[in-house]
Amino acid sequence: MIVELQSVWKAYGEGEARFWAIRDAGLMIQAGDFVSVVGPSGSGKSTLLHMLGCLDKPTKGTVLVDDESIDRLTDRQLSLIRRNRIGFVFQQYYLNECMTVLQNVLLPLELAKVKDRKKKAAEALASVGLGHKLKAYPSELSGGEQQRCAIARALANSPEIVLADEPTGCLDTETGEKIMDVLTDLNEQQEIGIVVVTHDEVVAACAREEIQVRDGRIS
C-alpha cells in the first residue's frame, strides 16, 4: 500500500479567518516505512496524519492511495480503506469504558461483520502482550496497557499502515518506551508501515525517517 500527498494544501475557516494548516506538502508513505512527524503544537502534524489516513481531504492538491485519488472515492470506499488497510492510534486511547478489552478490539470487526472476529481480536491483543487481560475493563488497566489495547484495536484487521497521533503523549517515559517497542516490533516483524506524530525527540528517534513540520510546511 502506498499513500502519497502531492502538493497538498489544507485550510480551515473562511474569509479573513482562513488559516492554512498545511502548505504545499508532499509525502509518500508505504508498508514497511517507519516515519516520525515532529513539530511544535499547531504546526499541522495531526492534519497531515488525518489526510494520510483518508479522514480528511485537502483544500488543494491530491491524496493518492495506490495511485488513485481519494477525491474519486465514496465515503464507503474511504471507510473500507480505513477499516482494512490503515490503523489509527490516538493519544487519549479512546477506549469504550463500558466494554472489556476484548470487546473494544472486537467492536470495529463486529460492525464490519468480519469472519473469525473474536479470534482476530484475541490475536491482536496477544500480539501487544494483553492476551491475559481480555475480560478486564479499561479502568482496570494502566495507561500503557490502555494504549496497547488501542494499538491492538488498530491492528485487529491486519492494516498495512498504522498512524499514531502522540501515542506516548499521556504516558511516563518507561511506559512510552514500551509502546514504542511494540510499534517497532510491528514494523520490523510484520513490515507494517508506522507513522508516529510526536513532540518527543526520543520517540522520534525510534523511526528510521524523521519529518519536521513547521507552520504547515514539511522540511
Binding site: L55, D56, D75, I81, R83, Q103, R153
Partner: protein, 372 residues
C-alpha cells in the same frame, strides 16, 4: 451486535428503563384494549344469542335500552300485558312464546336479579332439567348468597314469596349466572307487576319466514318486535364508536412512545459522538453506524413491547370487567393480539430510530477527532 447495545446501555440505564416503560405503557394500553373489547364483543354476542329467541317482543320504548335491561335484569317502566300471550302464540310461524319478567328484589335480604318465566323457558335454555318449578339459581348468585339445592329462599319487594331452590346452574360465564329464575306468577307478585311482562321471547318454526313473523307481531298494539341480530348490530355500532375513541387515545400514547424513543436515541447520539467518531475513524461505514442505532432502538422497543404485553395482560385482569352495556366481559387473549403488539413495538423502534440513526451515520470522523 446485541452485546454492543447491551454494553453501551450500561452508561444510561435510567433513561433506557424510562424509554422501555414509556413504550410498554402504550403497548399495554393497546393489548388491554384489544383483549377487553374482544371480550365485550364476545359477551354481547353470547348474551344476545343466549336469549334463545329469533324475535324479542318488547313494550314501547327504545328497543336497545329495553333489551339491555332484560339482559341486565333491570325492571322498566313499560310492560307488555300478559293477555297478549295467546294472541302472540296464534301468529303464523310462532313455535313458542316465552314470557319474561325481570327486576331486582331482595333475596334472603340481599339484592339480586330475578327472572320470572314459565315452563316454556326450557325450550330456550339448556338447564338439564325436566320440569321448571321453585327457584333455579345461577352459579354467581348461588355463591354470593350461599344457596344450595333444597334450601328455601325468600323473595321480598312489594310482596314476599318463599321458594325452594330446585337447581343451581353450572357457570356459563354469562348473565344467566346472575339470575334467580322463578315462576312467572311469583316474580309478578314480588315485583308488583300484576299481569305485566317485561318481554316475550319468540321462537319461530321456519327461520326463513322470521321477517314476515316479525312484522306480523310488530303490528300488535303496544308491542314492538325486534330481532336479536338487529340489537346486536346496533349495540356493536355504539361500542365501535367508543372503541374508535379508545384506539385514538392508544395511538396518541404510541406516538408519545415514538417521540420518547426518538428523543432518547438522539440524546444517545450526541452523548456518544466521540465513540461514533472513533468508530468511523477505524473504518465503520455510515451504514454500520446507522444499523447499530436502528438495532438499538429496535431492541429497546421490543423490550418495551414484551413488558407492555405482560402489563396489558395483568391490567386486563384487574380492570373493571363490566362494559357500558352492563355485561360481564372476560378479556379475550389471542396470539394475534400479541402479534399486533409486537408489530407496533417494531414499528415504534424503526420509526423512532431513523432520524437519530441518520444523524449518527452522518457523523464526520475528522470533525469529531478535531474536537477531541
Amino acid at each position: 451486535m446485541v452485546w454492543i447495545i447491551v454494553a453501551t446501555a450500561k452508561k444510561r440505564k435510567a433513561r433506557l428503563v424510562m424509554t422501555v416503560v414509556g413504550i410498554a405503557i402504550g403497548v399495554a394500553t393497546l393489548f388491554a384494549l384489544l383483549s377487553l373489547s374482544a371480550g365485550i364483543e364476545g359477551a354481547l354476542d353470547r348474551e344476545i344469542g343466549g336469549l334463545g329467541a329469533q324475535i324479542i317482543l318488547l313494550p314501547e320504548g327504545c328497543p336497545y335500552e329495553l333489551t339491555l335491561a332484560l339482559m341486565q335484569g333491570a325492571d322498566t317502566l313499560e310492560h307488555i300485558p300478559e293477555e297478549s300471550l295467546p294472541r302472540i302464540s296464534e301468529v303464523d310461524n310462532v313455535l313458542s312464546a316465552v314470557p319474561a319478567v325481570v327486576g331486582r328484589v331482595k333475596v334472603n335480604g340481599q339484592l339480586a336479579s330475578i327472572y320470572g318465566t314459565t315452563e316454556d323457558v326450557l325450550r330456550v335454555k339448556s338447564w338439564g332439567i325436566e320440569e321448571f318449578r321453585g327457584a333455579v339459581v345461577g352459579s354467581d348468585v348461588a355463591e354470593k348468597l350461599s344457596l344450595s339445592r333444597g334450601q328455601r329462599i325468600t323473595l321480598d319487594l312489594y310482596a314476599q314469596e318463599s321458594l325452594e331452590v330446585t337447581k343451581v346452574l353450572q357457570a356459563t360465564g354469562g348473565r344467566d349466572d346472575t339470575f334467580v329464575f322463578v315462576p312467572l306468577t311469583a316474580a309478578q307478585k314480588v315485583l308488583g307487576l300484576g299481569n305485566s311482562l317485561s318481554a316475550v321471547l319468540v321462537q319461530v318454526e321456519e327461520i326463513d319466514e322470521t321477517t314476515q313473523t316479525r312484522y306480523a307481531l310488530g303490528r300488535m298494539a303496544d308491542i314492538q318486535a325486534v330481532p336479536p341480530s338487529e340489537v346486536f348490530d346496533t349495540l356493536m355500532g355504539l361500542f365501535g364508536s367508543v372503541k374508535q375513541t379508545l384506539i385514538l387515545i392508544t395511538g396518541i400514547a404510541i406516538v408519545a412512545g415514538i417521540l420518547t424513543t426518538m428523543n432518547t436515541m438522539t440524546m444517545a447520539v450526541h452523548e456518544r459522538k466521540k465513540d461514533i467518531g472513533i468508530l468511523r475513524a477505524v473504518g465503520s461505514t455510515q451504514r454500520d453506524v446507522f444499523g447499530l442505532f436502528v438495532w438499538e432502538s429496535l431492541l429497546v422497543s421490543l423490550a418495551g413491547g414484551a413488558l407492555g404485553i405482560a402489563l396489558g395482560y395483568v391490567a386486563s385482569q384487574f380492570l373493571p370487567r363490566t362494559s357500558g352495556f352492563g355485561l360481564q366481559a372476560t378479556p379475550h387473549f389471542s396470539l394475534a393480539y400479541v402479534g399486533i403488539c409486537v408489530l407496533v413495538a417494531v414499528a415504534v423502534g424503526i420509526v423512532s430510530a431513523i432520524y437519530p440513526a441518520m444523524v449518527a451515520a452522518r457523523t464526520q470522523p475528522i470533525k469529531t477527532l478535531r474536537e477531541l
